[in-house]
Amino acid sequence: MLLVPCPHCGPRNQSDLRLLGEAVPRPNPNTATRKEWGDYLYLRENPADWVTETWYCRVGCRQYFTVERHQATNEFRNPPLPGDKVGNSTYTTITVGSSGSQRGANANSEEQPS
């Protein structure tokens, strides 16, 4: 079992969190083409290398955060700290309050990525 570096709770057992997968930039819903939506929804790098991914701290702080993990060795690097702007700014980083429901997360993610 991996120890996942949650920025708020510190290292936690992997089973306390849920991996949501690669953090993929969300296209602009007003202008995105069908192909861009398809790519956003389905296409993944899936490298045997470093990947920036989103985790949900399911039974802990119930926050979403992104972190880099190596998909062959499973090492983590650059774990974010509370208050950090996590991940690459082109990614939709989903942050929700302590009420953090999935719905809240979706609502938030509708903000345009910068």
């Binding site: 079992m1 992997q14 089973s15 849920r18 991996l19 398809g38 389905y42």
Partner: protein, 435 residues
Amino acid sequence: MVSIRKPNPGPLRYSAATLARKGLSGDDWPRVWRDHDLKKTYDVIIIGGGVHGLATAYYLATNHGITNVAVLDKGYLGGGGSGRNTAIVRSNYLTPEGVAFYDRSLSLYNTMAADLNINVMFSERGHMTLAHTDSALRTMHWRAEVNKLQGIDSSVIDPQEVKKLAPSLDVTSHPRYPILGALHHPPGGIIRHDAVVWGYARGADHAGVHLHQKTEVLDILCEGGELAEGKGAGGKVTGVRTNRGDISAPIVVNCTAGWGSLISNMAGVKLPIVTHPLEAAVTEPVKVFLPAVVVSGSLHVYVSQTDRGELVFGASVDPLATYSMRGSLSFTEELAGHILELMPGISKMRLLRQWAGLCDMTPDYSPIMGFTPVEGHLTDVGWGTYGFKAGPVSGEQMAECIATQQTPKLIAPFKLSRFETGELVGEKGAAAVGH
């Protein structure tokens, strides 16, 4: 539909007479397949020496007479998922496209021992998917109806019939997840996966295909594409770079399952695949008591007993996307807990081994087969947790696709472009746990 050209897949026929002759003469058996020097050029390069790559090569040679073919594997033949799976074979899928496709594979499995002249130990023992909730039972009815419409032997049975088929199951109302019924599929069963791999390898070798083990593809060479080095859409494949040198070929087929994203990325083709490990475990052998394959979706577990008496267990994929094939304690713990809910009587049996293999998971639990935006680069990937049973039909259809340069009808629904057009072939309900 093209049929397999029979027989003579090997220089030496395996039979009781051959065994006796060898025994009396003391002659050794010849190597099952040969090693070759790497040629500079092939007509077709197949990356991945699992059941899919080998079957594709075999049918290219035997059905279409295309023999200037190389199968490249970075390790040994059958070292990927093809040697790590739990060997469940069935066709009771959920979509009409899936059912037709997997049923063709089942019929190829039925005649395989004779066609390939190798004992594949196909045991048509029946496959049972248990329903523990009303909604699961509803899905079973749905599957049974889809199956029946296509002539597949598949029906919903009640707990008493379940008990008759597998007396060791607890069908009382005591468990947390009581058994309410099951989808029963008599033609399903298990097979000796290694023998299937060796059978295709031997047949392909004899037909003139070159099998290259320990030959790792490091890059796919392209020209004319929109990305760097001529890769990507609009371009075409010219060959591959390997640890043993460059080879040129107009057609390069990706049959690398769990490693599929890495290979297609080399041609500038991004796939809707995430790689997850799937774990399995096997117990010490005991007297045979479990006649059918038993799957429980709600408990995330399935079990069958080999002819040697070991119980083979599996589950759904590990939640972590990774290329690491390490086993985990949490898998064993959960597996043991769940299996004991089904069969309390085996609590003192010992696990002998546990292992993992890589699964190339797609969003709709269906494969990605055929042409890509790069000319000459074809994929036969997205096999997830369910691709072993598809080996024969995939080989047959991919060979036809390569030989005719047209997508055969049976695999047309599995085209890569479905993720752009939204024509997904949703098989999750029939493939997430019961592989």
